[in-house]
Each structure stands twice: as structure tokens, then as C-alpha cells.
């Protein structure tokens, strides 16, 4: 297969890492088999909180996937040469993240064997249908682009001209995947927590913060383990992108918070109360959400002061803060907060179960494995030249 032979040659450390991932994936798979047998009853989901970790992870990783555009756009539209070395990493990250999204939706299905019904009975008025279309299209675009780019790099030729329009197309497409994902939530009449026009912009801002933050961290890991240097300037430029996106995200969150609390409409305010202050004696989400706030604010300080952002020690810390903060916000608070209280006012605790967490970890493992293998191939191709 296409350059896959390069993934089978590696150091001892590489193989240990691959084996660890394989173990995690296997554990997740076994738990998924259990879910297939007994149904979603093995998760912490319930009548009132019908979506949980799976769908939240899906939402978060759509953002990571969309964020590839933050390296693709400067490089291809503004000819920002410094990103030349890392665009392929961004595109491969997108491929891995979109695959994770699809798997997270898949493991959430009650009847996974019928999932193709979405294509058999295409339903254009359902946003779920458009999410399938946009995610599938984005996956194809990024697979095509990264394979063509890597192929021409291996042969030492410039990429074919027809790929350029496809790359340009992938830019608005990236924006579309996260917009459609936001529309999935923001158009539901009874769910006031999500019913805000600022949801899609917020999704994009948090995506463009968490995705590049992850990319910075990945570049730093690659420098350690694969002697790959992304270049100081590229990393710094990504740092500025993370800083801007984090600022915009925090701003949008504050805008939303003001509107909700100042208008004081019970249906809107009660979700925020639940998420941040606890409702009916149920506080289990609040500490996590405050941790998310704390991390976001700390990251903002680290990113906004140039001296700290330039520091090779503090930038990764800020990136970890941004990533964890937004993961908590989007991967935990957003979904559960939207379901609690329920339309009938019930406050139900959602606690993921161990098998549920193992399935989530398994999908993370698949993502990590894909990215490891892709990066290995990409860097091997590069080293050969």
C-alpha cells in the first residue's frame, strides 16, 4: 500500500508506543462488544441525559479536525512559507480527528448495524444528514490532499496543479463541518442552553484554539522523539493563532453569559446555574467547569504576554491549559448542560461508567494510532530526501 511500509520500520520506543495504543484499543473494543450485547444500558446515559461523553467527544474533535484550516489557510492563501513543514501534519491531524468523530457517533448509535440508513434515506431537512455529508466530504478531501502532497514530496516533484482548488475548497469546508455541528444543537426548540446564534462562532473559536494548541504540542513531541523541527517561527505563529482564538472564545462565552444572566429568563439561566453553580443540590459538574474557566484564564495570561508566549517552557503549558479547558467545556459541560435540567425540570446526574470511558479511550487510541502512523510516514518520506 501507499508508503505504508514506512510505518513498519521503527525504533523500540516506537513499537512500545504502538503496542500500548493497541492495548488501549483492544480494551475499548472489548467494552464495545459488551455494549453491542447489552445495549447502551452499560453507559451512564439515562432517560433525561440521552447524550453524553460519546457525542461530546464527537463535538470536540470536529473542532480539532476543522482547525487544520489554521495552517492550511496561511500557507496556501497567504503563501506563509513557515507553515510549509507542518501543513501535512495539520492535514493528517484532520484525517485522524474526523475518523474519531465518525467513530464516536457510531458507538453512540443504538442500532449501529443500521447506520447506513442515513444514506439510504437521505433527509435534507435533518442536520444530522448534513453532518454526515460534511464530515465524510472533509475526510475525503483531507485524505486526498495529504496523499497527493506526500506523494509528490516523495518523488521530489511539485504537486499537480489540480490539487490547489481542492485545497482551497477544504478551507470553507472546514468551517462548514463545525458550523453544521453547532446547528445540530442550536436549532432545537426545547433546549435553551444550545439555542444561541453564538454557538457556531463559539465552536469555531474554541476549535481554532484547541486544534492549533494540540498541533503545537504534537510538533514539540515530534522534536523530542523524531528529531523533527517544525521551526521556531512556525510554532510561535501557531501560538499567536491560539492566543487570538482563545481571546475570541472567552469573549463569546462572556457575551453569552451576560445575555443569559442579565435577561434573567428562567429557562435560559437554569442551565448555566446547573453547570456553574449547581441546581437542586446537584453540583457534580461545577468543579470541572470552574477548572475549565481557571485554565482558560491562566492560558490567556500566558499567551497574551509576549515574553511568556515566546518562552519554550511556558508555551506548551499554555497549550495544555487551552486544550484541557476547552475539552472540559465542550467535551463535558456543553452536552450534559444542555440536557440538564430536562424539559420537565428534572436534574439528573450523569456519571460515565467505566466501560463507557474505556470505549472513549479506545477511540482516542485509534486516533492516536492513526496520527502516529501518518506522522511516521510523513517524516520518513521527508527524511529520505
Amino acid at each position: 500500500m501507499f508508503m505504508f511500509e514506512k510505518a513498519f520500520v521503527g525504533s523500540r520506543r516506537y513499537w512500545v508506543w504502538i503496542l500500548c495504543l493497541a492495548g488501549i484499543i483492544l480494551a475499548g473494543f472489548l467494552c464495545y462488544l459488551r455494549q453491542l450485547t447489552f445495549g447502551l444500558v452499560i453507559t451512564g446515559l439515562s432517560r433525561d441525559v440521552t447524550w453524553g461523553l460519546y457525542i461530546a467527544q464527537f463535538t470536540f474533535f470536529v473542532g480539532v479536525a476543522a482547525s487544520a484550516v489554521m495552517v492550511v489557510l496561511p500557507y496556501y492563501l497567504h503563501d506563509y512559507k513557515q507553515f510549509g513543514r507542518i501543513t501535512i501534519l495539520g492535514e493528517f491531524l484532520a484525517v485522524g480527528a474526523v475518523t474519531m468523530c465518525m467513530l464516536f457517533v457510531f458507538v453512540d448509535m443504538g442500532q449501529p448495524s443500521r447506520v447506513l440508513n442515513v444514506l439510504r434515506y437521505p433527509t435534507p431537512w435533518s442536520l444530522m444528514f448534513w453532518d454526515f455529508v460534511s464530515l465524510g466530504g472533509y475526510l475525503l478531501l483531507n485524505v486526498l490532499i495529504s496523499l497527493v502532497m506526500l506523494g509528490s514530496e516523495r518523488q521530489g516533484v511539485s504537486p499537480p496543479r489540480w490539487i490547489k482548488p481542492i485545497i482551497i475548497l477544504s478551507i470553507p469546508w472546514a468551517v462548514s463541518i463545525h458550523t453544521v455541528t453547532a446547528f445540530l444543537y442550536s436549532g432545537l426548540p426545547g433546549r435553551t442552553f444550545w439555542m444561541t446564534a453564538v454557538l457556531a462562532p463559539r465552536f469555531l473559536a474554541s476549535a481554532f484554539a484547541s486544534g492549533p494548541a494540540l498541533l503545537i504540542l504534537l510538533c514539540l513531541v515530534l522534536r523530542k522523539v523524531a528529531r523533527f523541527d517544525a521551526g521556531r517561527e512556525a510554532i510561535q505563529q501557531l501560538g499567536i493563532i491560539v492566543a487570538y482564538a482563545t481571546v475570541i472564545n472567552v469573549f463569546l462565552v462572556l457575551v453569552e453569559t451576560f445575555t443569559v444572566f442579565y435577561s434573567h429568563i428562567p429557562e435560559h439561566i437554569q442551565h448555566f446555574q446547573y453547570v456553574f453553580l449547581g441546581l437542586d443540590g446537584n453540583y457534580h459538574l461545577a468543579p470541572w467547569m470552574w477548572l475549565s474557566v481557571l485554565l482558560s484564564v491562566s492560558a490567556l495570561v500566558l499567551l497574551l504576554v509576549p515574553k511568556w508566549r515566546h518562552s519554550p517552557r511556558l508555551l506548551p503549558v499554555a497549550c495544555v491549559f487551552v486544550f484541557v479547558s476547552l475539552w472540559l467545556d465542550k467535551g463535558l459541560g456543553l452536552i450534559v448542560g444542555g440536557f440538564t435540567p430536562s424539559p420537565l425540570g428534572a436534574v439528573t446526574t450523569y456519571t460515565p461508567t467505566w466501560p463507557e470511558a474505556a470505549i472513549v479511550l479506545g477511540v482516542w487510541g485509534i486516533g492516536a494510532l492513526m496520527i502516529t502512523v501518518f506522522y511516521k510516514i510523513a517524516l520518513s518520506v521527508r527524511e529520505a530526501h
Binding site: 447489552f38 445495549g39 447502551l40 444500558v41 446515559l45 439515562s46 432517560r47 433525561d48 440521552t50 447524550w51 457517533v105 453512540d108 448509535m109 443504538g110 442500532q111 449501529p112 443500521r114 447506520v115 440508513n117 442515513v118 439510504r120 434515506y121 437521505p122 433527509t123 435534507p124 431537512w125 435533518s126 442536520l127 444530522m128 444528514f129 454526515f132 445540530l184 444543537y185 432545537l188 426548540p189 426545547g190 433546549r191 428562567p266 444542555g338 440536557f339 430536562s342 424539559p343 420537565l344 425540570g345 428534572a346 439528573t348
Partner: protein, 255 residues
């Protein structure tokens, strides 16, 4: 203009896009249009007289009748409950239909809840496989348990909490099985079907039938001005659940 082979291929590539596009525009136009029920021959609806309902404390005959008629599993665990019709205290159903000073009047009174069979159902709008749809000739919101993929988007979309998911195999938890009605499998969504299987045989819904002493539930065609529910709605003040959401529920409550 000369059309080369390449151009032709390009244009033919656009054709499916155009088809999907027109389909989408039509669909959104449909959604936006005010309830298209004008052409419907019928629109089944229900009026529940809460005054009569209150007369018999602790009564749940309608719930029991439905459970038996539709093979509804009984799980002790509230988190995984499946229910088509059930009682819920007034204040959680109509939280904004009471003032601070009249709060006590109806507090704690059970209100029977079921699918509202909305004229403009959000659950139908979001379902990615059309496994739930509104029947054109009588307005019943239907479910196809063989097509449902179990994504639970309809549950997120329903503002009334009327839909249940089969978190596990329901069959072991069915007390007395009714062979005339299908059981469901794990991983699909279900809800009240207004007893369409009974209506087809000219019978009234099981819950209405069960309430034959109090006659608190009145079922009929909302499109027909002389129907029983329409007569009641003409003479008494009625509430719908959250009509401000534009769903236009077909279940009315006489307070």
C-alpha cells in the same frame, strides 16, 4: 458555445448537486410554512379534562391500559424507563401557568402526559432517516422501529420529553405480553402512537377507553368543528404544553 467532452463531464457532475439543492430548498420551505394541515382529511387530537381527572386520586388506569396494549417494559430503574403515557405533577408540566400566590392550587396534581402529535413536530424535522414522520392523512406522528438507528436526536429535539429510548432489551421486562402488538428491540426510540393500530380497527385509544367512568379524556378529529374535542375547546379554556415553541400540540388540557 462549444461544449467539450471535459465540460460536459464537469456539468454532469453538478447535476446531482442541483437535485440535492432543490430538494433541500423545498424541504426547508416545507418546514417554514405554517402547518400544512389545511389539506389534511383529519387531525387526531385529545382533550384531557383535568377537573375530571382530579376526581379520582391516584388513578392510573390510562397508564396501565397503555402499558398492556403496547407491551411497554417496566424497569424499576428510573434512568432507563420507557413510557408512552404517564402522570407528572402540574408544576413541572406547566411551570409558568401559575403565579407565586396561586401556586398551591394545583401543585402536585398529576397531569397525564403523552406524545403531543404536534402539527409541526421538531422530532420529525431532525430524524436523519425519516424513521419518525407525520402521517399526512391524520396527523399522527409515527415511528418505524425497523428503520430507527437509535441516534436519539429526536429525544433531544422533543421539548416535551415524550420519547423513550430502549437502553436494553425490553422483552424480559414486559409483564403481560400482548401478542397483537409488536415488541421492540434494544437501541430504538419509541413513544405514544395515539393507538393508530386501534384507530385502524375503528376503536378509540386504549387510554381513552380505560377512562370510561370519568370520561376525562376526549378523543376526536380536530379538523372537524363538530367533533367532541372541538366542542369542548369552544366552551372551555384549554392549555397546550409550550405552544410558544410553534409546535402546535394536538393534546389539550382543560384546567
Amino acid at each position: 458555445m462549444k461544449l467539450t467532452r471535459k465540460d460536459f463531464l464537469r456539468l454532469s457532475g453538478l447535476a446531482p448537486l442541483a437535485i440535492v439543492g432543490t430538494k433541500a430548498v423545498r424541504a426547508f420551505a416545507d418546514v417554514a410554512a405554517p402547518s400544512a394541515s389545511a389539506k389534511n382529511t383529519k387531525r387526531w387530537g385529545m382533550v384531557i379534562d383535568l377537573q375530571k381527572c382530579r376526581q379520582k386520586e391516584g388513578c392510573d388506569l390510562c397508564v396501565k391500559a397503555c402499558n398492556t396494549a403496547h407491551n411497554i417494559p417496566q424497569f424499576p430503574d428510573k434512568a432507563h424507563e420507557v413510557k408512552w403515557i404517564w402522570n407528572q405533577p402540574f408544576e413541572s408540566v406547566f411551570p409558568f401557568e401559575q403565579t407565586d400566590y396561586t401556586r398551591q392550587a394545583y401543585t402536585g396534581h398529576p397531569i397525564p402526559l403523552l406524545c403531543n402529535h404536534c402539527a409541526n413536530p421538531p422530532c420529525v424535522r431532525v430524524c436523519p432517516t425519516q424513521a419518525t414522520w407525520k402521517r399526512k392523512d391524520d396527523g399522527i406522528v409515527m415511528m418505524d422501529w425497523h428503520r430507527c438507528i437509535g441516534c436519539r436526536y429526536c429525544i433531544a429535539a422533543c421539548p416535551y420529553g415524550s420519547r423513550s429510548f430502549n437502553w436494553q432489551d425490553p422483552r424480559p421486562a414486559i409483564a403481560t405480553s400482548n401478542p397483537d402488538f409488536p415488541t421492540r428491540t434494544k437501541g430504538v426510540v419509541e413513544k405514544c402512537n395515539f393507538c393508530e393500530e386501534r384507530l385502524a380497527r375503528g376503536l378509540r385509544p386504549a387510554c381513552v377507553e380505560a377512562c370510561k367512568e370519568e370520561k376525562a379524556m376526549v378523543f376526536g378529529d380536530l379538523e372537524d368543528p363538530d367533533s367532541e374535542p372541538r366542542k369542548l375547546l369552544r366552551s372551555r379554556f384549554a392549555l397546550q404544553r409550550e405552544p410558544e415553541l410553534g409546535t402546535s400540540p394536538s393534546v389539550y388540557y382543560l384546567v
